[in-house]
Subunit: 380 residues, 2 copies
């Protein structure tokens, strides 16, 4: 562990915060109790002006950086968060919270429903991206932070970034939405729908009442496989696998012939050990229903935003194509919001927000430096 | 039916041909009996020089044009085959055969295994694109045709076109591979693998022994949904659906909110009524294993080809991107094979080969005219 601690932020622990009085949801229902799993890295300064909220994607969690005791794999954005990294923990106090509806410590469909003493299952209310952000606001209040220096995240994390800037304009100084969209396209909805149908088609799903029994792991694995293809690119798959055949013994005709098949299967199999199928349904639904403008023009909705934007997209990302990021930038400009757009040349596809460390780091660190120095921020 | 008969080829019937003595497969096994379902349109001329073989894609069948008695929907390429159409039945004798391994009249995993008196299931041998083409050659022999004027098809049909030109160079005067590839990329394999895993994950699949019981319709429907997304484009889905919400009553939280979801589900549900899940496994496997060059250089393999090529690709086809068609053309040129390349501007994605009637028709009819007139054909 010594090497890890020298170059990164070392061992971290997930913490838990419960919203006193619960949370009123967008659909009018009340969720109570509501717990958020979160982690923090670095130190909050006395002025409480150096806090950066980092938000995760569909299957992410609060563990964004450092190592959990005894684990070999660091947090999902460890390459971006730490001393001297993009989100420099020697300068910034970085917070990452797991979304509600999830299954990694925050309240979700696998949590106990106090009315029944059993897991919610489908009795869990439909939550939205706005609800996720509203819950995070309570956490930021609890941490005593009036104004976030920045909110940043890729994919669904980027949707939360957009929602933060719109819902709480006076509390966000800078927004960094990466590889994301202001609303989901039919193709994006379709891929999520296939994943949901794969889960629902699994007889073990049992209308969501599988807790204590056998979970719908086969359906969830298929959903994850579909997702994985969309996270990569044609080029990155060819570079990673080519048509290399597997050398393993075959047990039946449809065992995998190609490395790419074995990779997808193992990714699917690993995933079901750490993720709850109902959470997959709820979170994908929240993503599909997300529409920042809600029928209005996007620039109209952005009119009250006071944050400065850095919008990042990736050339080979065909799941969240760059035109969706450009739409956000165009709407920002129309609304008079200070916005910088950068399209990074990468062959990694949508996964690039997790993998393109170098270019992303340079963009993010310069941007944060400028914002922290008070330059170009609309409200100062 | 009068209107139909005036503008098209009217009512047609599927015919059946059995290969005497069976078929020796690429893997060394023997398949016997082997039946091919096929249809023909137009008339074979006395010189037997006007035959065009048309080949179908993954889920297609022998019914390429005209109407089956009592049915409202014509064959899958009816917009391209008929009097005055691209494949003009007043000039050409058009043949379409269903592939072996399929479930639409040709011998496949749902056929009776003569050794057991029961459906083959997974005892059906793995067949290849080359096996499919070898079976078609027997049909062409049986029809008394020495030399095909042309072989044409899109997607998997295009793979068969390529294989025809390479396996039987002296029997093909022109080849029209459309929206296809000389071998499958890892991304293409990955999408097929997800479909297979969805079927295999369905408990009703029962290792392929579901005949007489409940077939794995839910898994097959999910496979079809994945396929459907890849056949369309981001643009065509947006044009067709936008984010229009469904007006129907919702029965539970994960009923469809958006039209695109309902569309995918109904496509999946319709498909399972006409297609066999094991055939889906066998045919996708044949596609994934297809590699025209088989480790050699593509131009080397094309050296003996005598057909003139018309290669067609579509700009928005991201499942079979145009670079794969360009590879075929480049290899043809390197091998001294006469090849014309045309990339059609279309927003339909991969489905364009079924939908872009006008531009495709012009390209195909001019090309066939020239070939029929003896112009530019390598061996005449």
């Amino acid at each position: 562990m010594l090497v890890k601690e020298e170059t990164g932020i070392g061992v971290v622990e997930t913490q838990y915060f419960t919203i006193a009085g619960g949370l009123s949801l967008e659909n009018g229902e009340k969720l109570n109790p509501v717990t958020l799993a979160y982690e923090t890295y670095g130190r909050l300064n006395e002025a409480k002006s150096n806090a950066v909220l980092v938000l995760h994607a569909l299957t992410g969690d609060a563990h964004a950086a450092g190592y959990h005791a005894g684990e070999e794999k660091p947090g999902w954005w460890d390459n971006m968060i730490g001393p001297g990294k993009a989100f420099d923990t020697e300068k910034y106090f970085v917070i990452c919270a797991n979304v509600i509806g999830g299954c990694r410590g925050s309240t979700g469909p696998s949590s106990i429903n106090p009315q029944t003493g059993k897991p919610y299952g489908l009795d869990f209310p439909l939550v939205t991206i706005r609800d996720m952000v509203a819950a995070q606001r309570y956490l930021i209040d609890f941490l005593g932070i009036d104004k976030l220096l920045a909110v940043a995240g890729g994919s669904m994390g980027g949707m939360q970034v957009l929602q933060w800037a719109v819902s709480y304009p006076e509390r966000v100084r800078a927004a960094i939405p990466i590889g994301t969209a202001a609303r989901h396209s039919p193709q994006q909805i379709a891929f999520n729908e296939v994943g949901r149908q794969a889960i629902i088609a699994d007889p073990n799903w049992q209308d969501g009442n599988y807790y204590g029994g056998t979970p719908p792991t086969r359906g969830l694995a298929v959903a994850r496989m579909v997702g994985h293809i969309t996270y990569m690119s044609d080029v990155s798959m060819t570079e990673k696998f080519g048509r290399r055949a597997r050398n393993q013994q075959k047990f039946f005709k449809f065992d995998n012939d190609f490395e790419v098949e074995g990779y997808l299967r193992s990714r699917g199999d690993n995933f079901v050990r750490r993720f709850d199928a109902n959470s997959y349904l709820y979170i994908t639904k929240a993503i599909d229903r997300f529409d920042l403008a809600e029928g209005n023009s996007l620039s109209e909705v952005l009119r009250n935003v006071r944050a400065k934007f850095l919008v990042i997209a990736f050339k080979s990302d065909w799941l969240y194509p760059s035109y969706q990021s450009q739409e956000i930038v165009r709407a920002c400009k129309t609304a008079g919001v200070d916005a910088t757009y950068c399209e990074i040349c990468s062959s990694y596809g949508h996964d690039a927000f997790l993998l393109e460390t170098e270019q992303q780091s340079r963009l993010v660190s310069h941007f944060l430096n400028r914002v922290a120095a008070g330059g170009g921020v609309n409200d100062e």
